[in-house]
Symmetry: C2
DNA sequence: GTGAAAGCGCTAACAA
DNA sequence: TTGTTAGCGCTTTCAC
């Protein structure tokens, strides 16, 4: 069913039908009712392409998610975030265009999207510490919201992020409270802002406690099981091996667990491990240390919020940038030993 | 840069430029070169909306992924699959339209996509045992490929799937070989075809071994940690508790682990666990039993293949349906005890 | 309050 | 081999 057909059925012009459907005020209320009813009856849906052509907007939002290599699994956080965003889009008549781009030529991807007129705005995932995309997107005037943020940059822009720095500062503090002094950090790629902030939280807590940083206890690479395994293995072979691990994702954690058991050690008895993951709750009650996570649902909500921010910007490009920093939740397991201290740690 | 501008710069008509760019044979080779060079220079990209309007095609493929509830995490397998598909699309000038639909009204989602003229074809994720979408999509004539397949249906259609039945049959056999007799299955929702096939593999192996099926050892629900925990807990409380678990996803597995340790048992010592996941490799070398998984890269490849199938169908809707059944890999850990038997199990 | 007509950027007959 | 022209389905001036 196309507009012309619907108009013919109603004995009206395309113009009037279009106006009635798009909420223009000059349509008689009675006419509007008739039109709307007919539209429902015939299940009329305006062709997005045609609408886009006519209005100069595409009614689509682009999500560009980076893939670093074939080794790294697509971060499940993106799935949750996008699921949240998707709802906002549907509710507002927008479509979601997904592009999986090699992290190398992401800028190109955005340029292409704009040149093709494919999107009215984009969500930027996985920003780097000093991400050139911010300047670029402002240059070309494409509305955007960042999932995450860019610490080392002065420009204004809209973003939504979890407080990674605080999360890792607290997690480290928690391990310190438990009496650990050799605490390892197995992190993601630290040119990525989230990983960089996590590291800052970690080092900050150690410095506060007057513990010297040991570079051999910090490792940074793609968030793969292999990275977790090789890093943890190497660290455990040292004479002054770490007694605790702070791990930046469940994928890495799989490797760390493997390394620990390969070394003849047992998690929760010989070694403490805290796994951070934005999405997943890991309850491992045989560990004396609880897991430190943001809950899954909050990621989905963050996606919905980011999408709404973006639609607002598209609606009115002159509004001031907004941002939101979400706190990660500290999930406490059921082991009673360290619980008190954990609570204290959680309060700062 | 739009076609008209480019044509003006070149002193040619829009038609000729369009033809040159789209590989029509009647263009003089020299002209084509000139046009192509100019297109690159000015970074010309045809507007997808306009192209779509003119050709009646949208140059976009829809992926509809279901969300069953707020409790269930978006299956990371979709992320990998889509990452693979995405590459195929980019290479062929297609865009990827992602829709996250409530599992209830998925049919509506497809109808809407077609009515809006938003897509030229769709990939159907997460098919049910007797999925009505197959008949519907054939009815409305929308090209599609199923990620998975629909066992209880007679129609012809294209699909790509992993051999879930075989995978679980082998996994169960493996546990039987290890001497287990009380083997529990903690599965996804069994109206979904993949879960149903997994269960078939499980029951088949037990029946072959002459072991009576025990309904209290089979549980089926959303693939959440909660499901794993409550199911495994209940089973472990029975007087004839299971000595082994066959688990349908790593999310469920998190809960199962928790239940095991809550029960005062130790994985790998008191209980054997096999986790199946299409995507993730779980190496837990303190378990006496290796993990049973398909490798991640194969999921991505499957996505790329499915996408190619779909583009072929769109190109020539009259071609016969094609399908591909991929084998899941048996990943063997480094524990040497059962290794030999595993190999044998792997060969059937 | 409604309609006629032009045009969004492209492709595809049909002419030349 | 190239150009002219008429749409694709919608929105939006402008006129009534």
């Amino acid at each position: 069913m196309k507009l012309k057909e619907l108009a013919d059925k109603l004995g009206l012009s395309q113009t009037t039908v279009s106006r009635a459907l798009n909420g223009y005020p000059e349509v008689r209320e009675e006419t509007r009712m008739r039109v709307q009813k007919a539209a429902t009856t015939y299940n009329y849906r305006p062709n997005t392409r045609a609408m886009g052509l006519a209005t100069g907007r595409s009614m689509a939002i682009g999500h560009v998610i980076p893939v670093y290599s074939k080794n790294e699994v697509v971060n499940p956080v993106f799935g949750e975030f996008i699921a949240g965003a998707s709802q906002t889009y549907s509710a507002n008549g927008y479509e979601l265009l997904l592009t999986v781009a090699d992290a190398q030529n992401e800028e190109d991807t955005y340029r292409k999207l704009v040149a093709k007129g494919a999107v009215d705005g984009v969500i930027v995932h996985s920003p780097e510490r000093n991400d050139s995309r911010v300047a670029m997107l402002r240059d070309i005037g494409l509305p955007f919201v960042i999932h995450g943020r860019v610490s080392e940059i002065d420009l204004e822009y809209s973003w939504i992020d979890f407080n990674n720095r605080r999360a890792f500062q607290q997690a480290t503090q928690l391990l310190l409270d438990l009496g650990h002094e050799k605490i390892a950090l197995i992190n993601g790629i630290e040119t990525l802002n989230f990983a960089w902030l996590r590291r800052q939280g970690y080092t900050h807590a150690l410095e506060q406690a007057g513990i010297a940083l040991d570079p051999s206890l910090m490792s940074s690479a793609e968030m793969t099981e292999g990275h977790g395994y090789s890093s943890a293995s190497a660290m455990l072979k040292k004479p002054d091996a770490p007694t605790a691990f702070l791990v930046s994702s469940y994928m890495i954690a799989l490797g760390v667990r493997r390394a620990i058991s390969h070394a003849g050690l047992q998690m929760g008895r010989d070694v403490s491990v805290i796994i951070h993951d934005d999405e997943l709750s890991f309850f491992q009650n045989n560990d004396p240390v609880p897991q430190f996570t943001a809950t899954r649902s909050s990621v989905r909500e963050a996606g919905a919020k980011a999408a709404q921010m973006l639609l607002n910007i598209i609606d009115d490009p002159s509004i001031a940038p907004v941002s939101e920093l979400l706190e990660a939740h500290l999930t406490i397991g059921s082991s009673t030993g360290p619980l008190k201290r954990l609570k204290a740690a959680n309060q700062n």
